[in-house]
Amino acid sequence: MRTRTQVLVMLLGLLLAPMTHAAAVLVVSAQSPVTTLSDDQVAAIFLGKMAELPDGTRLVPVDLAEGNPARTSFYARFVGKSESQLRAYWARLIFSGAGQPPRVIRDVETLKKLLAEHPDWVGYLDRADLDRTVRQISAGGKS
């Protein structure tokens, strides 16, 4: 019985491993006035449900490419959706003319460069890729 449980836990660990090893953090341009966002706001921004904060600050979400570990980790942690769920969600909006997914930036270096030029953009990257060109914003709690 015990060995079976252990095997199950190991299998589960293997299944979840690719989703959990990257730690994504939310980043904006160093010039952005935004310092903190609630979890609900982060999900709403990246799902295209919110274009500006209650104070009128505009935020434009940008994505990393599908398969990027930071992207997988970000959507699992902040939005609670897998890549398949995300694709199904956007297919609903795209094919009913209701919206388009965030623009995809092909790699982290380009993302950092573009974030510096666009104070209204918000993106995410692996904690290890943080540097002075971008600013991490804290997220969590309720709005």
Binding site: L15, S38, D40, A43, A44, K49, M50, A51, E52, P54, R58, V60, V62, E66, G80, E83, S84, Q85, L86, R87, A88, Y89, W90, A91, R92, I94, F95, S96, G97, A98, Q100, P101, R103, V104, H118, D120, W121, K142, S143
Partner: protein
Amino acid sequence: MRPRSIVRCALLLLAAHAAAGAEPQAPSPAAPTVPPMAASTDAAFSWSIGGFGTLGVVTTDEREADFVDTRTQPHGAGATQQFAFGPDSKLGLQLDAKYGNLSGVLQIVSQLQHDGTYTPHIEWANLKYQITPDWDVRAGRVALPVLIESDYRLVGLSNTTIRPPIEAYAIIPDTSITGIDTTWRHRFGPATNSIQALYGSFSANFPEPHSALHVPRSGGLSDTLDFGPVLFHASLAYASLVYADPSTDALNSGLVQFGDLLESIPGLAPQGAQALALERSYATDGQHTRITSVGVSYDQASWIALSEWVRLTNAGFIPTSTAEYLTVGYRVGRFTPYATISALKSQTFSPAYISTQGLPPPLAAAASELNSGEQSLLFQQENTQTTRSLGLRYDLRSNLDLKFQIDRISLGAGTPGLLLNFQPNFVPGSSLYVYSFALDFVF
């Protein structure tokens, strides 16, 4: 502007925009659904092209009638074909264009039509003007937003089940309406509320005997309250009806002529009045119907649930119908097993007829013929049925899924349910199994 002109203008503008932007900013083929220009640069023009499709096959143990997805399809699995691709297979292509606050959508869909062909039709063609980030107006061809999945019911990848419950969608014969609409979105705390108001007209064509439903005026209000994983939806719509159907038209004019004739014969006036009353009760032209719906959906990490209730009110021979369904699914990695129970109940008409008692034989024969014509028309509207489904969705890739589903359909006592093409040995009120397999994709 007349609806047709609105569509034409929308198409012309779209084409002009597409032509203007095609050269310098062709989207990368690797990410066709992502606009090449960022939304932040408002003045820039961007466009994208994408598509969706389903390759589905259906089989059933019923041999005396056809299972179809909607009654606009002329045939399906059962009496006509043992294995049918028609009910679920479809291919859609969409062009999106955006210039500042103005955007346009053109979506063309090929699926089994009333005439048995797969001739592509325009599902969406509209121009949207974003007045503020949370308020827009659209003109052109848009979806009738009666149910939660109405807007994307054709996009298999977006939905858990092989097809949205046919019982609920049988109440709305067409998915698109030509007209104008406006949506206002309001965010408070973690919730987003969207109110949509819409006005326009639509037509739906049905197979044999080549009837067409025209709705010259339709309007509606729809509200969606989105709490993240939980979503509430309610809608109210009305539709004025014109049913152009040669056999029904012939029946109605037969009833009027017969009624007028009997009323002019001394002693036969009561039967004449019965014939005229039949015509008045069951003619649809100029009548209107109301559609009301409420629904809730839940979509969190593992659990998916979707439940709706929808009612259409009586107009002529179209009976008051109520449908409700519940789908529950549970994600286990790439697999999502799910179950659905879905029911449609149509009002049974009280058996009205022309009394043949006291009529001379030739008139009695005519009355019997009119009676049986009316009974057969009303019988086809008694669409009571319940479907219990078990299915499994497998996400092969993020843009590709496979689904398998078993439906147990129980037709309401003495009714034909939503089946078509009845053979002589068909038993109203029987039960059947339907087995479906589908591959859904988007690109």
